[in-house]
Amino acid sequence: MSAILRSLRQLKRYPSAIGGMIIILLLLSIAVYAIATIPYSEAIRLWRGGEDVWGESPKLAAPVWVDWFNREKMSKSIIVRSTDDAVTRELSEGGRTEFLTFPVDYQYDNFPQEIVIFLTSTYESKQPHVALKWYTPDGRDIRITEMSVKRADTYRPGQDSRLTRRLKGASAEIGLLQDPESENRQLLKGPYQLVMEIHAFEEGSHVDAKLVLHGQVSGLAGTDDRRRDLMVALLWGTPIALSFGLLAALGTSLTTMIIAAIGVWYSKWVDAAIQRITEVNMILPFLPILIMIGTLYTRSIWVILGTAIVLSIFGSGIKSYRAIFMQVKESPYIEAARAYGAGDFRIIFQYMIPRVIPMLIPQLVTAIPSFVFLEASLALLGLADPVLPTWGKIINDARSQGALFHGQYYWMLEPAVLLMLTGLGFAMLGFALDRVFNPRLRGL
């Protein structure tokens, strides 16, 4: 054990090992942060949520940092609720009509992506009626619409063709905010107001509303076509990817080593059987079988994980371990152990396997990213776990929605960068470990 620690101390001399460890630490802290801030059930709820969860976030909005590469200030989402302090509520003299004024100070350089008004009302039998009016900074007022409000209602001015006609063919998110004097649809910055005139027909009938101007950018990660904040999946993808990679790599390499040791120790038919199984397993198509299981049985990531481990145990690794154990078996200290009467199990687990652990560590570390990428590969084929948010799933969504074609590069690049970091981190550390533990490579 102390020999291993001594070798580990040598790692300090390899800059790639330091770099790799920094990346791994970074990923680990992201994973911890994700688990600590968003509980598992919450993450699933968010990731599976539809319009009810993500109504306030824009569709396919780029992350806010695209601003850094642009001179223009991209619009962010503006949300004004009728319960906010800025919103004034006035009653008319009759007491039957209420005026709600939603102030919007629009200072961005481009138009919002979409305008949505969410309304809720309470009533017994007669729906309240609202009239919406829009006041611009230059003193114009535009009649938007009049409507009766159901208990929960959504009004999208952009889809109201009568409003579009009134705005001379411009969709609401542009028409309401443009300077009418300008030639090519210039944006008019300044304080806007939405005034909602509410006619309640019953005592105690009440209307609440929420005005949302969806921005062109949203959050540090942007959103996808289902309005979900990609940050959820990017954050939660980290612990999933790491645990998948680690469990698979650990499961595979440990079992492979133990089986190789057992085979070499008992030799004869045990060894022969293991050799034959390995040969059959080499011919079994690994990925197609995983795909078959994903298609025909279950897409649960843990079943796939188990199958991947089982199929990789009898891989080419067994042959290289066998070669090493053959040498170990002939060493004098094994003979000594046998002479004092150590049992088979004791020799295998206490004498043979510890000897080979230094070989195992680099292999284990380098195997982790390959399993992380395996999960991403399956996701790319549409066989991702349907519940869990994973990086591969984001890439698959982005690909199937033609993100690259439509210029939504962030959608593909963010998970790709995280995957790349994972790959690089573990591989850099693994390569350095290999050189430390493998004396033949030292100095090369």
Binding site: V280, M282, P285, I291, S377, L380, Y409, F426, L444
Partner: protein, 379 residues
């Protein structure tokens, strides 16, 4: 094992004729034995595939559902049947389904059926696809797969061959310039190979197809395909650049790195030092003292590379819309075309076995230390 680097065994050099005859016999015996062993392995492999495919009767349920649907459709189209009362019609439908299942052998216990499946699979009688068809309109799974084989062979064959040749020669070049800037660069870049080819493919598409717009996003030829043979070839060439490039970008660094390390270890052997001391040219040393004894290892590595080739194609082809076996697999998954999925898995098992067999054979041809028919089993 790799430590024993004895010089080529003397019998490889001595050429008396009677020995050659016995060598031929040995080769034949070895081939036969290897062939038998692999045949058994293939049978077990394919059988396992079938068991996995039909575990829990997933495939059976699908086929039964398909039979039932066909019969119900047929009955509802038949005007005579429409006259019958519902219960009677139902009875007829069930009877027909039972007969059909019996005809297809679905009423037998699974263990018997699995052997029927095995025989069919081994004879490549892979049944009919549910929805997919080949370009010529056939629904035979075998026809579909055969049609998709050449594009995969073209793409993966070209990229892996290039990868192999470039990395071996690049590594030889680097092992001569140990410690140079280029050498250290390759060592530093080696970890980037942990990402698979399709991953780099995404970036290459982003760069060459989206930003520069000089190369196509995917596919194998322009649509519509050019009628002129030469233009057709040029179009394929234009489409193949990105997928091949992504294999190279992904694998070249680690591949070169491991070859370089391997050659460096072999270049420090005593007999190489001896050759240097004799004053042989570095080219001679490389050819005779470094490459020759390492040839078997080089070929083994190439074998492992080829095994990775078959399955690596699935995702790369999906990303690049390459109309090969991998892309077929992807479309079969998307529409749950089970016969195609199972059939293709069987084909992959076959391809892997053939690869292993051919490479085993080449291996003994180039390695004089492995005595054909004798010591090879221990390897």
């Amino acid at each position: 094992m790799a430590e024993s680097t004895a010089l080529p065994a003397p019998e490889a050099v001595s050429p008396p004729t009677p020995r050659r005859a016995s060598a031929l016999k040995r080769v034949l015996r070895f081939t036969g034995r290897r062939f038998l062993a692999l045949a058994v392995t293939v049978i077990i492999g394919v059988y396992l595939t079938i068991i996995i495919a039909n575990m829990g009767g997933a495939v059976d349920e699908l086929r039964k559902g398909e039979i039932m649907q066909g019969i119900v459709m047929g009955v509802s189209m038949d005007p005579e049947m429409k006259q019958l009362p519902a219960a009677e019609r139902q009875a007829i439908i069930e009877e027909m389904a039972r007969l059909q299942e019996k005809r297809l052998g679905l009423d037998q216990p699974f263990i018997i059926r699995s052997f029927t499946f095995l025989r069919n699979a081994l004879l490549l009688d892979l049944g009919f696809a549910e929805n997919l068809t080949s370009d010529s309109g056939s629904r035979l799974v075998r026809a579909i797969i055969l049609e998709r084989l050449p594009p995969t062979l073209l793409l993966m064959g070209l990229s892996y061959l290039m990868l192999f040749i470039i990395s071996v020669f690049f590594a030889l070049f680097l092992s001569r310039r140990y410690g140079s800037f280029l050498d250290r660069l390759v060592v530093a870049l080696a970890p980037t190979s942990s990402a698979p080819a399709w991953f780099y493919g995404l970036f290459l598409i982003l760069f060459f197809a989206v930003f520069l717009g000089v190369l196509p996003y995917g596919g194998m030829v322009d649509a519509p395909p050019p009628s002129n043979k030469l233009q057709y070839a040029l179009s394929v060439l234009r489409h193949i650049i990105l997928p091949v490039l992504s294999v190279l970008v992904s694998a070249i660094w680690s591949s070169t790195y491991s070859w370089r390390t391997f050659f460096l270890i072999y270049s420090s052997e005593d007999y190489v030092e001896m050759a240097k001391a004799k004053g042989l040219s570095s080219r001679d040393i490389e050819n005779r003292y470094v490459l020759r004894p390492t040839l078997p290892t080089i070929i083994t590595n190439f074998a492992l590379l080829l095994i990775g080739l078959w399955t690596g194609a699935i995702i790369l082809e999906t990303v690049f819309n390459w109309p090969g076996l991998g892309r077929l697999f992807y479309s079969a998954i998307n529409i749950y075309d089970t016969p195609v999925i199972v059939g293709e898995t069987v084909i992959y098992a076959y391809l892997l076995a053939v690869t292993v067999f051919v490479l085993d054979f080449i291996y003994v041809l180039v390695d004089p230390r492995v005595r054909i028919g004798g010591g090879s089993e221990a390897a």
